[in-house]
Point group: D2
Chain length 421, copies 4
C-alpha cells in the first residue's frame, strides 16, 4: 500500500485520543513487518500520567470496533483501556547516535463535512466513523511515519533509529505518559513535525516558536441538594460556587510578562428548577507564553476554584486533563533540517522558525531530550489546506507526504552517519 492509500485508509478510520486501537494495531504490524523491534501499551506509557481519558464505555466501544475490523487480538489486549502508544527501534550496523522521529495518531470529535466537493467525499475516503474526523492532519503524520519506516528498513546506517507514535495529542493528553516512561531518555536527536498550519505548499520551517504552555483542568463541585422552596438553607449550592469561580477566573490579572489566556469552556450543573443544585462540572484551560507563568496562572486558577467551593460549603475536585509546555528548538537541528530540505527539489521556501501561537504536547518530548543533553526541533511542512485546522472541511494536499518521507530519510542518514563519533 503506498503512502497515499495508507493516508486515505487512516482518514477513513479516524479514532479520537486513547481510542486509536485500529490505527496503532496497524502501526505495530507494519513496523514489525519492516524488521523493527516494536513495543506498545504499558511498555511505552505510564498509564496514570495520561490526561483526560474518555469514559471507559467509549474506549471499550472503539476497542470492539477495532476488533470487528480485524485488528490483531493479542496486540489489542496490550492496549486495552487506552494504552495506544507505540515505539519502534531499528538498530544500525554500527554503534552511533539515537535519532528519533515522533508522530501523532489521533483524530478529533468532529463530524466530517458531507459537501460533495470535499475531496475525501469526492474520492471515497471520508470518515466511516460518524462524529470522528482527521481534521488536523495526523492521518498524514502517521502515514509519513510508516512510509519513512519502510524506506529506512532498506538503508544501512550507524546508531539507532527510533520511531514514536503518540496517542491523544489533541488537548495535550498523551505525550507526558510516554515521556515519563522514558521513551526519549536515550535520544540524541529528535524530530517532531506538523503538516500545514499556515505554511504554503513547498515551504518548510526548520523549527517552531511561540508555543503556548497550557493546562486543561476539569473541576467537579459537590454540594448538597435541597428543595428550593421548602428548605433552601439546607442546600449547598454547587452552581453558586461554580459561577463565582468562573467570573473570578476570567478576572485574573493580565500579565506584564507576556500573553496569557484563561477560558472556562464548559459548565454544567443542576437537575431541576426547584432543586438546589448539588453538583457542577467545569472544564477550563489556561495558557501563557512562558511555562513558569502558566504554572503561576494555573496555581491562581486552582486557588480560585478551591476557595469558591469552600465559600459555599462545597468540595471541589480538580483533575488535570491536558497539558502542554513551551519549547525552544535547537538552532543546530533547525539548520540541519533546512540544509536537508534544500536537497529536495520539492521545497523552495525555507524559514528558520514559524510561530505556532498554539499549544503542542510534543514540547514535553523536546524539553526532555534537551534536559538530557540532546537536540530537538519541531519542523513545519507547508501544504495547501482546504479549510482551517479543526474545521469539518479540512483537507491537505497529499503532495507533501512523499516529499516529507524523502526529507526525513535525508535527515536520518545525515544524523545517523555523519554525526556518530
Amino acid at each position: 500500500m503506498d503512502i497515499i492509500e495508507l493516508r486515505r485508509d487512516l482518514h477513513a478510520h479516524p479514532e479520537v485520543g486513547f481510542t486509536e486501537f485500529r490505527t496503532a494495531n496497524r502501526v505495530v504490524l507494519e513496523l514489525r513487518s519492516n524488521g523493527y523491534s516494536v513495543s506498545y501499551g504499558a511498555d511505552v506509557m505510564v498509564p496514570e500520567w495520561r490526561r483526560g481519558l474518555p469514559p471507559s464505555t467509549q474506549i471499550d466501544l472503539a476497542y470492539e470496533r477495532a476488533k470487528n475490523d480485524g485488528a490483531d487480538e493479542t496486540i489489542l489486549q496490550g492496549m486495552r483501556g487506552g494504552l495506544t502508544g507505540v515505539v519502534a527501534t531499528l538498530k544500525g550496523s554500527a554503534p552511533g547516535p539515537t535519532v528519533a522521529f515522533r508522530f501523532d495518531m489521533d483524530a478529533l470529535p468532529i463530524v466530517e463535512s458531507t459537501d460533495s466537493e470535499h475531496v475525501p467525499n469526492a474520492n471515497g475516503f471520508a470518515s466511516l466513523y460518524r462524529g470522528e474526523m482527521h481534521a488536523c492532519g495526523h492521518d498524514g503524520h502517521t502515514a509519513i511515519g510508516l512510509a519513512f519506516a519502510k524506506a529506512m528498513s532498506a538503508r544501512k546506517f550507524a546508531g539507532t533509529l527510533k520511531l514514536i507514535f503518540q496517542p491523544a495529542e489533541e488537548g495535550g493528553r498523551g505525550a507526558k505518559s510516554m515521556v515519563d516512561k522514558g521513551v526519549v531518555d536515550d535520544v540524541d536527536f529528535l524530530i517532531c513535525c506538523h503538516l500545514g498550519l499556515d505554511l504554503p505548499l513547498h515551504s518548510i520551517s526548520g523549527g517552531a516558536c511561540d508555543f503556548l504552555a497550557s493546562t486543561k483542568l476539569m473541576a467537579q463541585f459537590h454540594g448538597v441538594s435541597a428543595h428550593a422552596a421548602a428548605a433552601p438553607e439546607k442546600g449547598r449550592n454547587a452552581l453558586l460556587g461554580a459561577a463565582t469561580a468562573l467570573l473570578n477566573i476570567h478576572a485574573l490579572p493580565r500579565f506584564s510578562s507576556g500573553a496569557t489566556r484563561v477560558n472556562v469552556g464548559v459548565l454544567e450543573g443542576g437537575t431541576a428548577p426547584n432543586i438546589i443544585p448539588d453538583t457542577a462540572k467545569m472544564v477550563l484551560e489556561c495558557r501563557a507564553e512562558s511555562y513558569e507563568v502558566n504554572q503561576d496562572l494555573e496555581q491562581r486558577v486552582r486557588t480560585i476554584l478551591l476557595h469558591s467551593a469552600a465559600k459555599h460549603g462545597l468540595t471541589c475536585d480538580i483533575e488535570t486533563i491536558g497539558e502542554a509546555a513551551t519549547a525552544v528548538c535547537d538552532h543546530e537541528l533547525k539548520s540541519l533540517v533546512l540544509d536537508a530540505a534544500k536537497f529536495i527539489e520539492f521545497f523552495t521556501e525555507f524559514k528558520d522558525e514559524h510561530p505556532l501561537g498554539a499549544s503542542e504536547d510534543a514540547t514535553f518530548f523536546i524539553r526532555r531530550v534537551q534536559e538530557l543533553g540532546g537536540k530537538a526541533t519541531y519542523s513545519i511542512l507547508g501544504t495547501t489546506i482546504a479549510a482551517p485546522h479543526h474545521n469539518p472541511k479540512f483537507d491537505i494536499d497529499e503532495q507533501i507526504l512523499p516529499a516529507t518521507v524523502q526529507l526525513f530519510e535525508r535527515i536520518a542518514m545525515i544524523t545517523l552517519q555523519t554525526r556518530a563519533e
Copy 2:
C-alpha cells in the same frame, strides 16, 4: 376493574407531563362508556398556553408507546403533540348548577425504587416505563376521578357534573392552557384535591392555604464562539453572561412583605476548554407568598437575565416553562366538604385549611371560577405515605381511594341538588 386495580394499572404505566397518551386515552374510553359527553385535545386546551413542553421526540416516543399498548388511534390523533387534557360532562335531569371536579394525571421523571419492600414491587405494579414514576399520587387522583364518574352515572341529579382531567401539573405547566380555553367558565362549584401531603390517614382538610405563587423560566444565552487562545476577543462568552446572571439573581433582595425564593436549578453551556462558549441554557424559578410579589420578582429576574446578556454582547431568549398562582379557598365550600366528610365513617379528623407551602397550578382553575362568581376549594385527603412526595419510594395507603369516591359522591349530590335555585 375496581378502583384499586385501576390505580395500580395507572401506577404501572406512568407518563410525564404532556405525554399522558395512554392514561388520557383510557380516561376518554371509561368516561364515554359511562355516558359522559367527552372532549379532549385542542377542544379543551389552548396549545400555545402550555408551558415547558418536552422535546417533540420524547412526545412522539410516548405516543408510539401508547399506540403499541393498544390505545385508540382516533383518540390518540386528537391528542397528537401533547394535547392530553380531557373534559367530560354529564347533564342531570333538570336545570341546575355546574359542579366540577379537577384531577391531574401526570407522573414524574423519577426512577422508581427497586427495593423489594416497596409495595409496588412486592405487589407487581411498579413502573414499567423506566425513568417515569407516579411519585406524587396522581395515579390515585385519576383512579378516583374515574371511579367517581362511574358512581355518578348511576345517580339522578339536577344541573351538570363536569370532570376535568389535567395533564402536566408538575412544574405548573398544564392548567393555564385549559383555563384559557374556558373549561371552567360555566362552573359554579369547583373541587380540586390532593392525596397525602402531610395529613395522616383518616384526616381531611376542607381547603388549603399558603400556596406559593411560582414562575419557572428557561433562559437561553447566545453569543459567538471563538478560539480561546487564538482570538478570545472575537468571542461573545455565553457562560460569562450566564454566571453573572446566576449570581445576581440569587442576590436579589429579600422582601419585607413575606417569604420569597429564587433558584437557578440548571446551568449548562459550552463545548470544549479551548472554545469561548457561545451558548448557555439556564432553568430557574422564583416564588412568593403573594402573586403580585412573585410578578415583581419575576420581572427583576428577567431584567437581570437580559442585562447580563447584553453586557457581554449576547442575546437571551426567556421562556416561561411553568407557573402557579396563589389562591384562597372559599369558606362556604370548605365547610361543605367537611360537612360531607362527617357523614363518611372513614374520616375522623377535620381541618379547615392545611398549609401547602408549595406551588400548584390548580390555583389557576380556582382563581378563574372565583373571578366569574363561583366557589372553589382545594381539599386535602390524608393518607399514609411510605416516603416523601417525589421520592423513589413514595407510595400511598389505598384505603383513601374508595373513601374519597364516597365523599365526592356526597359533595356532588349536595351541590347538584340542594344548591340549585
Copy 3:
C-alpha cells in the same frame, strides 16, 4: 431643673455612642446628689467587649468638649477612652428584691434639621454639636431616668433599686460590655423602655416582640498594590475580593425558618485608577428572626469573606462592630406594667406586646436576667413623633415624660414592696 428642661439640655448636647462624656458626667452628679451609690467607667463595663468604638481622635475631641463645658475632671478621667456607662443603686430600708431600670444615652450622627418649624429650633434647644442629634428619643430616656431617680430618693421601700445608664445602643454596641461586667447578675426584675416607635400618645405596650437578632461586621481586605499597566500580576486586588464577597453574601440562601436579612452597606477601596487596589473596607450586617439562625447566617457571611479574600491572595480581618439578640418578654412583668399603667390617668390604650421588627441590644440585658432566674420586659411608651426615628426632623411630644416617671414610680413601688418575700 425639671424633666422638660433636663431633656432639652440633653437634646442640645447630643453625644454619639461611647462619647457621652457630658451626659454621663451629668448623670453621675445628679444621682450622687440624690443619695445613690454610683459606679461608672471600667467598674461597670468590660472595655474589650465594647463594639464599634469610634476613632480615638473622635473620642478625645468629645472628651475635651465635655471638659470645656465644665464636666467634673475626676469623673471624666474614669470614663476616658469611651467608658461612658453608669450604674447607680439605692438600698431600701429592708431586704428585698433588686429591681432595675435601663436607659440608653447616645445620640446619632445626623445633622439636625434647620427648619424653623422643627420644635427644637422654635424653642431654642436644637443640637449645639453639628452632625450629632438626638433623633431616637434617648434624650427623653435619660431625662426620665434622672427624674425617676429623684422621685424614688424620697420614697421608702424594701430591696434595692438599680438604675443602668447605657452608652452606644445605636448599632448594638454598648450593652454587651455592661452585661459581661455582671451589672444585672443580681437583678430580679428588669424594665427596659423606648419612647415612640409607632405607638400613639396615651398608648402603652407592656412588652415587645419581633426583635431581630443582628450582627454588624467590619471587614478589612489587605492585598498588594502594583502599577495597573506595568505589572498588574504583581498586585493582589483587594477590590476583586471585596466585590466577589459582596455578591456572594447577598446571594446567600433565604431561610425557610423565617425572615433573614443581609446587607453590605458600605464598601470603600483603592486609591487611583492606575493602581491595583491593595485595601478595601466593607461594613455589613445580617439579621434573623431567631438568634440561632442569625449565628448560622453570620458564620456563612464570615466564610464568604475569608474565602473571597483567600482566593485573590488577600487577608481579611473581620471585627464585630455591633450585635443584638432576640428576646421574649416575661408575661408576668408585661402584665404588671399594664396594671400599673391603668392607674395613671394619662394612659388610655393598653397592649400586651408591640412588634419591634428591628434590633435592640437591651435584649442582652433581658436574656441575662432571665438566664439567672429573673423577669424582664421591654415596654413601649407611645408618643407623637414629628418624623420617623433617625430622621433630621424627629421630635417627641414631651407629655410622655412626666407620665412615664409616674408609671415607673408605681412599678418600682409594687415590685420593691409587695413582691419581696
Copy 4:
C-alpha cells in the same frame, strides 16, 4: 535666576493638574520679559475638553494660594477655574517653518519624603505644599522651557518658535483641550520631551515607542436607599451594580492583537450597614497597545457599566477623566535630535527609540501635527533618578537641565534655519 534655582523654586511650589496658577503665572511673566507674545487661559484651551477637573473648592484654594504668593491678578483671572495652559511665540526675522516645543507643568498628589537624605530636603527646596510633589520631573521640564526661551530670545532665526506649557499631563487630562483649540495646527516640527524614565545620565533617545493608549473613566451609580431590615426590596442597591460591574470588567477577554489592561482602581459606596446603598463611585482605566483596541475595550467597559446598573434598576453616569493615545515618532525628526545631540559633549549614548510602556497625552499633540503634514517626536533625556517616578523620594540629577537647553537651542537653530525653504 539660573535654571537650577528656577527648577528648585518650582519644585518647592508643586501644583497638581489644573491648579498650576503660580507656575503658569511665572511662565507668562518670564516669557513676556523675554519678548515673547504670550496667550493663556481660554485663548489656548477649550474648557470643556479638559478631563478630570479637581473639585472647584480645590481649584479655588490653589488660586488663592497663588494670589497670596504674589501672582499677577490679571493673569490669574484669565486662568480662573483651572485654565492654566500657556502658549508663547517668538517670530524670527524672516519667514520660515513653525517649530514647537511642548513642556508639562503639573505635580502629583504625593506627600514628599521627609528623609533627610532626600536631596530636596538636604538642600532646602522640598515641597512647601503638603500633599503635592514634583515626583515626575515636570519641574525640570518647565525650567528647561523657560531657560530655553531666554536663550532663544538672544538668537536670530527664520520662521516661528512656539513654546507650549501644558497643564494636567498626569492622568492624560490636559493635552486634548489645547490640541482642540488648535495650538499646534500651524506647527511644522514638534519636539516633546521627558526626563529620566529609565535612561541613564548622558543617554538620549531620539524618540519613543510603545505608548499605551489609555482611557480613564469615572462612573457614578445612583439607586434608591431603603432600610435594610424594614424594606430591602424598596431599595435599588448601587453597590450590587458596582460590584458586578467590577468583576465583569476585569473578566473582559484578553486580546490576541496585543497587550491590554483594565483596572477598577477605586470603588466607594454606601453610608451605613443598615441602609441599602444608593450611590457608588468607581474610577477605572483601560489601556491597549493600539488606539483602536483601546476604543473597543473602552466601549466594552461602558457597556458593562450601563447594563450592570440597569440590571439592578440603577442609573450610571460615566465621565471620561483622562485619555492618552498611541503615537509613532517621525524617523526624520528622531535622527535630527540625535544628530544635534552628537554635537553636545554631555551626551555619549544615543538610541533611536526608547519603549515607554506607559501612557502620555503628548500623543494627542503628536498625532495632530502629523495629521496636518508636520513631523513630531517625543525625545527622552536620561538622568539619574533617586527613586522611581511617582515615588516620594523621586529626584533628578540636575546636570541634565543645562545640557537639554543646549540641545534644544541646537535643534531649534537647525529646524528654523536650514529647513526653511
